[in-house]
Structure formats: C-alpha cells, structure tokens
C-alpha cells in the first residue's frame, strides 16, 4: 500500500488535542503512523488547508427497506441533479433519498468515511446489507431494532436481563448487526393495532409491559453484554408539542447505570435526533423550544450522549420505525404514506415532508436543533446529524456547520423567516451568540461519535494507530472568511483517504474504496431457554424458517469487520 505524508495543514484533532496548529500526518498500510515511519511517501501539500479525521455519522437512514421505499415511491426526488456515469463514478440520482452509489460519493465529498444505518428491521437484514454492500467507500454498520420485539417484550416483562442479552447476542449475529436500537418502545407494537404508547408508562397492549421497563431493561442488557455502543434510543412521543417531558422521563431511566464496556464509551444511552423530542406547549399553535431544559439535563449527566436531528429547511422524505408517528404525519400534511409492519419485530412509515421557512413550526424546529448544539457544555457528547433524511438530507452538514460557526449566518436565516418575531419569541436561539470553532466541529462530527460508538480505537482522530481516514479541506481558518465559504469548503473535500486509500484527489472521486461492514459478535454462555424460545417462535409465528433467517456471510457482507465481545464471564 502507498505511503502518504500530508504536510503543513492546519490540523483539528480532539484526539491529539490539536487545535488548528500546523502538523504533518503520515499514512502507511492503511493506518496513521508517526511521520518518521514513512520512508518515501507521496506528499500532499496541505499548506493553508484544514486537515481532519474522516467524519463519522452516528445516525442516518441510508440503507434498507424503508429507504428504498422512499426512493421507489418518490420519482420526483430525482427530477433534478441526476448525475451521469463518468470515469470511476457510476450513475447517481436522488436528493433526499439518494441512490446507494450517490450516498457513498456524497458522504465522501463531505469528508465522511464511516456512516451507521440507524434502523434495521431484522427480518430485512439481507436487504440492508445488500444496499450497504452497494454503497461505495464508506465503512458502515446497521442497528437492528429491539424496542418492539416480542422476545424482548416477553423477557423484560419478567426482568430477565440475562435472557434478553442472550437473545440480543443471537440476533446481532443472525443479522450481522452493530448495536441495540430502540424506536418508540412499545408504541410500534401497539401500532400493529392502530394504537400507540405516548409516554413511558403507557402499557403496551397485550404484553403487560411499559416503555419504561423496555428502555431500562435494554440498557441493562446492553451493559450486561458490554457492547461497543450503548443502547441507541428514539423515545416515545416523537414530534408532539409538549413531548420534552417524555424525553426527560426517558433520560432519567439511565440514572444510576454505569457503562460496562471495554470500548471506551462513557454513556449508557445515546438519545438520537433530540430536536424532535424537545418541544413545549400543548398544540402546534403554542409549541416552543425546551432545548434549555433538555440540555440542562444532558450537561449535568455524563452517562448520556445525544445527536441533533437538525432541520435544514428542505423538502425531504421522512422515514422511521415509529409507525404511528408517520401515520400522524400523513394526517397532518396529507401527502403520500407508506407503512410496513414487520412480524414480531417492528414497523415503519415513510412520508414526504416540506420544512418551509414560511411555516412557523418548521422555523422553531430549526432553532431547537441549533440551540441543543450551542447550549452543549461538552461537544464530545452531542453530535451533528439531520437524522437523514428526516429533518433534512445529510448533504446539508456543511450548512449546519455554517450556522453553528456563525451568528451572522443564523441571523440571515432568521430574516428569511415569514414569522420571524413569533419564532424568536418561542425559542432561545436569537439570544445565543456562541460561535463554534472547527475544533468543536471535529468533536461533534468525528471524535465524539466515534467514542460513543465504541470505535475510538479506529476512527475519529489522527493519532498513530488509528485507521487512515483523513480529509483535507480547502479552507484556511486563519484568513478572513464569509460564512458561505465554510459551507462551500466542507461540501467538497480536496483530498480524502479511507483506510489509506486515496478516494478523492483534487475534489474528484478517484476510487470506490474498499468499504467494510462492521458488526458485533457477542459471545454469551449457552442459553438453552432462549434457543428453545427462538425455535418455538419461528415454528409458530414467523413466516420464514429459522434456518432461512440468518444473513450468511459471503455476498451480503463481502468485506466484514467483526468486533468481538466476550460476555461469557
């Protein structure tokens, strides 16, 4: 493998604690190495440019059945900007739900190299893996959903943590999954009957359990196993006015639980797209921001991490395993609605959505996401996402950087709102003058998410030994710049290395990389009861046989990266 030396760039790296100082980064055999370790490297002149580790996205919907529903049922999403095949690049299309090929290229263009698919229905794991396989460049993993799974509901009803853990280990292996995802715990099962669970104590119909028990039980099972990532949470009551209390109730369920993981994370719950969970008021007429209450909690509890779910004011395609929420949304906007309920496991819905700067609620949502990030005391615990494509397409990350880094840019956006005064009144953002720097951005997009995922030993920084995922941006932080320069520079990396392969050269995609699929193989003690339960349920209630359920390696996961966990003690 070629050796590289990226010379004289302004380096931003929270892992090494470098805050824009000039430094050289050396690459050898796919890893970052000491500069003395390379003999005759290819030299990249990064003088006057910004150098960071490859970006890590902790939460995006980029592969799998509901993403493909979004693509197939929205031909209008491809009206503009279809890109012909050229050179190494294959045809690419789609805006809010891009084709897999465009997904890989567009992330790479922003300097991202690792992206996690945030919700995999286990029965559709093969589909998710086929799409990830066809997404070039990126390392990816997928989170199977557990919060409405019948096995989990039945074990946790009796607080059987060990059995829950054994089942999780089995399912991660069967689906080649990465982490424990929870979406509207209990509520999506209730949606099987057209119902919902709106707060943590609403009983799940027929299962004699509450969302609170599910959440707490899954955190405990996650720590019992010592998985790399913590339980990954999308709470009940998403998107409803007044829901911040449900969010705080959900947060509190993590209190007193310590992480048990040798992968270096400090949290036991990652709560995702918190913007959608931070609303006050009791109707859309009086909805307001409760970002402050939420961040007061997060700032004072270090066993939680969160991501933003920033609204980008675009037309987009919402999609989530929160089936009842999508039904609620289609009743609000009367646009087309797709829904799929998945036997014994989960559900999902897809609805297009337009976040218009002319609509007060959309503008309030925009403010809340930014408030969360700007009120954060520790940028290592709050990460940049749009919950792609729910609050906006991921290609807007550089625009979010602009908003976070420049009060001027935010004020410009305020001026463009139709209901500016009402929006200012319902939110705190106008009173916040904080402007983040690139070091904090690197924390929120690289070091922080890598650590939260339990992948700090691979990604998120530029220390020797880490994967050689390195981005060079044509941005000089020491010269004066306009806010739009930020968006422009970080939308198009000048150079990008992915595990030591240069995939972008002079802003052009030069290689499809050697993408890997990350999954977690957790070893547990033999558990005959769980295996008996699995057999029984497959025989009686599933429509595929047990022997046809597991995603076997070869063509679904051609280039696996398996993280071994031993929970047999």
């Amino acid at each position: 493998m070629a050796e590289y030396l990226i010379k004289n760039g302004f380096v931003f790296d929270p892992v090494l604690g470098i805050r824009g100082d000039k430094a050289d980064i050396a690459i050898k055999d796919g890893k970052i190495v000491e500069t003395t370790a390379v003999k005759s490297p290819k030299v990249i002149d990064a003088a006057g440019k910004t150098v960071m580790a490859g970006g890590v996205d902790i939460h995006a919907h980029v592969a799998g059945p509901k993403v493909n529903v979004g693509r197939n049922f929205r031909p209008e999403d491809k009206l503009f900007g279809y890109k012909p095949k050229s050179g190494i690049e294959r045809m690419q299309g789609g805006f809010s739900v891009p084709t897999t090929i465009r997904t890989g290229y567009n992330y790479a263009r922003m300097g991202y190299t690792t992206v996690m698919e945030a919700a995999m229905p286990p029965l559709y794991a093969r589909h998710t893996h086929e799409e990830m396989r066809d997404t070039p460049i990126l390392d990816q993993g997928a989170y199977p959903v557990f919060g409405n799974n019948w096995f989990v509901l039945e074990y946790l009803k009796n607080h059987e943590i060990e059995n829950t853990a054994a089942y999780i280990a089995w399912l991660l292996r069967a689906t080649k999954g990465y982490a424990v995802k929870v979406v509207n715990p209990g509520g999506t099962e209730a949606w099987g009957w057209g119902l919902n669970c709106e707060n943590v104590h609403d009983p799940v119909p027929y299962f004699d359990i509450t969302p609170a028990q599910i959440i707490k039980g899954l955190i405990e099972a996650n720590e019992y196993l010592g998985l790399p990532h913590s339980m990954h949470m999308h709470a009940n009551n998403l998107g409803n006015p007044g829901n911040y209390t449900t969010t705080l109730d959900s947060f509190r369920l993590s209190e007193g639980i310590k992480p048990n993981s040798k992968f270096g994370r400090d949290q036991v719950m990652h709560h995702t797209h918190v913007q959608f969970h931070s609303y006050g008021g009791d109707s859309w007429a009086n909805v307001d921001s409760r970002a402050k209450e939420i961040m007061d909690y997060v700032n004072s509890h270090d066993n939680i991490t969160i991501d933003m779910g920033q609204v980008t004011l675009d037309e987009t395609t919402t999609m989530t395993a929160d089936g009842p929420f999508e039904h609620h949304l289609t009743e609000l906007n009367h646009l087309k609605w797709a829904n799929v309920d998945v036997e014994l496991e989960t559900g999902s819905g897809v609805v297009p959505y337009v976040y218009s700067p002319g609509i007060k609620v959309c503008a309030i949502q925009w403010c809340i996401g930014l408030e969360l990030a700007l009120l954060a005391k520790d940028p290592m615990r709050i990460f940049m996402t749009t919950d792609h494509p729910n609050a906006g397409p991921f290609i807007r990350y550089p625009r979010i950087m602009k908003w976070l880094m420049s009060q001027d840019a935010r004020n410009q956006q305020f001026d463009a709102f139709k209901h500016k005064d009402k929006v200012i009144e319902a939110t705190n953002l106008a009173g916040i003058d904080r402007e983040l720097g690139l070091y904090e951005i690197a924390q929120m997009t690289r070091a922080g998410p890598a650590k939260s995922l339990g992948l700090a030993h691979m990604y998120g920084g530029l220390a020797p030994g880490l994967e050689a995922d390195v981005a060079v941006f044509d941005f000089n932080p020491n010269e004066p710049y306009a806010p739009d320069d930020i968006e422009k520079a970080f939308s198009s990396a000048e150079h990008l290395f992915k595990t030591g392969v240069q995939v972008i050269v002079d802003h052009e995609i030069a290689s499809n990389g050697n993408k890997r699929t990350l999954w977690v193989n957790a070893k547990v003690n033999e558990n005959p009861q769980v295996m008996r339960d699995v057999k029984e349920k497959f025989l009686r209630y599933y429509t595929v046989t047990l022997n046809n359920y597991e995603v076997a390696g070869h063509h679904y996961v051609p280039n696996p990266y398996v993280i071994e966990v031993d929970a047999t003690q």
């Binding site: 059945p65 993403v67 493909n68 693509r71 197939n72 049922f73 929205r74 031909p75 999403d77 491809k78 279809y82 890109k83 012909p84 095949k85 294959r90 045809m91 299309g93 789609g94 739900v97 084709t99 897999t100 090929i101 029965l123 559709y124 093969r126 589909h127 086929e130 799409e131 066809d134 019948w150 949606w191 099987g192 009957w193 057209g194 027929y206 039904h327 289609t330 087309k336 609605w337 797709a338 829904n339 799929v340 309920d341 998945v342 036997e343 014994l344 559900g347 897809v350 609805v351 009686r540 209630y541 599933y542 429509t543 595929v544 046989t545 022997n547 046809n548 076997a552 063509h555 679904y556």
Partner: protein
C-alpha cells in the same frame, strides 16, 4: 442412497415458500422428490431433471434451424449486440436472483440500455399508484398473526399462489389468531366464480371493469353516505355489509392481483384500493399488498431502486436514469421501434407480450437467457441455457412483501452449464473491453 435437503426455497411464485424438502441423490447430481411444495412449485424443481434439456447455447441459422455454439461465442454475440446497439432493451429479471440483477444493471449502465422487468405487464400499475399515494402494508406474518378480515380483489391464489392461503392468509393460526380460518372473514371480489371465491364468506361478483366504482363505493359506505342501488352490479346492501365487515375487524388486509391492475382503470384502480386502505386506518388497522407473480420480480424493483431510484422501466440510454412509464416501458418502446436489440433474461415475453411486440423482437438482434425452451427462445437469434436459480444455484430473492430470502442450491446443474451470474459477469467484462472502459 439419497439425502434430504430441508428449508428449501421455492423459486416459482411470489409466495416464496421456504419450507420445502427435496430429496437428492448422494452425489447431489439427481433430484428425486420434492415435499411441501404445491403442484406448480414441485414441477419447477422436477423440470430441471428433464432428460432432453438443452445444455449448450445455440444460434439460429438462416434456414431457421439451430446450431450449437460455445458459451464463449454466446458471450461474444451478446456483448457485441449490446455494445453496438444505440438503445438495447434488457427485459425480464423476474426469475433470477438479485446478484444477477445487479450485474445486469452494470451492463445496462455501460451500454445505455432500457432496463425493464415483468412488472411492466403486471404490477407496474401498482408501482405507479404507490408513487401517487403511498402504500400501507405489512409482512405476511402480520397477516398470519393478526388479520381477521381478508379481502382478495382480482386475484385467485387458489391457482396462482397455491400455498398463500394455507401459509399466510386464511388458514394458519397465529399469535392473535388462534382460531385460524374460523376467526377470519374472507371476502373475494371477482367477476368469476373462482376456487378462491368458493372459500369466501362474501363473494362480490362484480361486473367486469367496474373495480374503481366499487372501491369508491366502499369509501362512501365507510362514511355511511348514500349509495345508488347497484354499483358494478353489486346491490348497495352488500356494499354496506362489506364496509361494516371491514371496519369491525381488528386488522384488515387487501390482496390484489392482475384482475384489477390490468383491467380498465389500471393504476387508478390501485390508487383507489390504497385509498380504501388509508380510510380504513381511521377506524381500525388495515394493510394492502400486491400478489406479485414471479418469485423475484419484487427483487428487481428493489435492486434498481437502490441503484437507480426507480422500480421498473428505467431508461439508461442518455447516460443517466430516466423513468416514464408509457414511454420507457417495453411494449411502448417495441411498438414505436425505439429499441434496436433485445436481451431477455428471467422471463418469457414471447408468451406474454402482444403479438405485435413479439414480432419486433423477432425482427431484431436478440438473445434469450433461459433454462427452458420457451416461446421467447423461439423468436430470439441466440438462446443461452443456464442453471436454474433456486435449484442449481442459490442467491437472494424478495417475497411479495419485500422480505428477502436466500434461495438454496440443491442439485448440480448439468456439466459445464453456466449460471445467470457467471454469464452476465462474462458479458460485462467483454462489454467493458469493447467500450474501452
């Protein structure tokens, strides 16, 4: 000695049963028996054992006779034909695995082909309706475990999907449906008195071509509004009764087939059927699902979805993907003489397209990839026999509810036969050489 392979997947219809047992000879070369499959499914497996099976590619001569050619020659002819064509049609893809479909897309991209699948003549209208209005649906296990109201509209699973009713929809006992058939109400809408209709609690013997009106009438009836005395030949009392039956269920499912996708109204019928389902969700839980025919037609829509963004009729001829059913659909292209070569894999347009289209295929350079002799192989210039997917080679397939299942290889193909995937790989490599990419 023989051995039994269990958990085998049936590569025939969209029901994609995965509980078959197949008895094969110890050396894996002969297939003896198939258990659990329905008659048509079993036949598919046994067909692979035909003694007179064609095992080598062949090319039609001037005088109409066939000449055996090598796979190398077949690859060369196919690659040349596709590379030289301005706008080749690459049609079929419904009876093969996703791996082959994926390589097919790459070839299509390299040569600027139009990629179309059998949805173009069956559920393409459903896909268009979904683009209009969406689709509330579910997996078949949800039907098995929850559904107490089953409506079959314009389909006859008793013949087309023989095990559908026993595995998923009418007879099985599930978690919340312990009484099985007894706990379910079955409604069939069909102008014909079919075997499926004979199982129904209510059979609405609608007049041919009045599906849209009757669906619309149901929406009116849900709201308790006034109906004319008859709609599509059905008395209004019956319509109110059916509306009430659906609303009073805990979980209703509508299955629909080509009787409604390809009759007058086409995609508008499906729009309305989905609207019925949406409306029902105001009162109870309801879902709707197309009865997809070929075992992996659904998969080709999925593969093209993630690669190009469209489920069928994808025109790559301008260097980027365009989609406009009515323009980029196979029969429209053939009739307008817009394609100058035809490649068929995993389907039999010779048997299912209008005669005028079949004639156009006959007039052009054309290749058919198919393990069988079919009406299509009879009109194409070159016929390339291949191994049976799901019998002689495995690979991914998507069930009618989009659940992906990996089909299994149970028996060896005849000596020296290629699989779809291998053949396409060779063609892709050769096309790249010819095009210099």
């Amino acid at each position: 000695m023989t051995k039994t392979v269990t958990d085998v997947i049936c590569p025939f219809c969209g029901t994609l049963c995965d509980d078959l047992e197949v008895v094969v000879s110890d050396d894996g070369k002969e297939l003896h028996e198939v258990y659990n499959a329905c008659a048509i499914g079993a036949e598919k497996f046994l067909h692979s054992q035909a003694k007179d099976r064609i095992t080598r590619p062949r090319m039609r001569q001037e005088d109409g006779t066939w000449k055996e050619i090598s796979y190398d020659e077949a690859v060369e002819y196919t690659a040349r034909m596709l590379a030289d064509a301005k706008k080749p049609l690459m049609y079929g893809w419904s009876s093969t695995n996703c791996e082959a479909q994926s390589i097919g897309s790459e070839i299509g991209e390299a040569v600027g082909a139009v990629m179309d699948n059998t949805a173009t003549v069956c559920h393409g209208t459903s896909l268009i309706a979904v683009q209009d209005i969406g689709i509330p649906s579910c997996t078949l296990g949800e039907v098995k475990n929850r559904a107490d109201r089953i409506l079959f509209w314009g389909c006859n699973p008793a013949h087309a999907h023989p095990r559908h009713m026993s595995r998923y929809s009418i007879f099985p006992r599930g978690f919340f449906t312990g009484k099985g058939h007894k706990g379910r109400k079955v409604i069939v809408v069909d102008p014909r008195p079919t075997d499926t209709a004979s199982l129904a609690d209510i059979h609405l013997q609608i007049e041919q071509g009045h599906d849209y009106e009757l669906l619309d009438a149901l929406r009116v009836a849900f709201k308790g509004e006034k109906l004319p005395d008859f709609v599509g030949g059905i008395p209004k009392e019956k319509i109110y009764e059916v509306a009430e039956t659906l609303k009073s269920g805990r979980f209703a499912i509508i299955f629909f087939g080509m009787g409604v996708t390809q009759s007058i109204g086409k995609n508008h019928n499906i729009d309305e059927a989905i609207a019925v389902t949406r409306d029902l969700n105001e009162y109870t839980k309801a879902a709707i699902m197309p009865m997809r025919g070929h075992y992996n037609v659904t998969g080709s829509g999925q593969v093209w979805g993630w690669q190009f963004g469209f489920p069928f009729a994808v025109d790559l001829s301008r260097g980027f993907a365009r989609y406009n059913p009515g323009e980029t659909t196979s029969n429209d292209l053939l009739r307008r003489d817009e394609v100058d070569a035809v490649f068929v894999l995993g389907s039999d347009p010779g048997a299912h397209f209008p005669f005028s289209s079949v004639k156009k295929i006959y007039d052009r350079p054309s290749v058919a990839i198919d393990p069988h002799e079919t009406p299509t192989t009879e009109v194409c210039k070159v016929h390339v026999p291949v191994a049976f997917v799901g019998v002689e080679v495995g690979g991914c397939a998507y069930r009618m509810d989009n659940v992906p299942i990996e089909t299994r290889k149970v028996v060896e193909p005849p000596e020296g036969m290629m699989t779809d995937e291998e053949f396409l790989q060779r063609v892709l490599a050769r096309v790249k050489e010819i095009k210099g990419v």
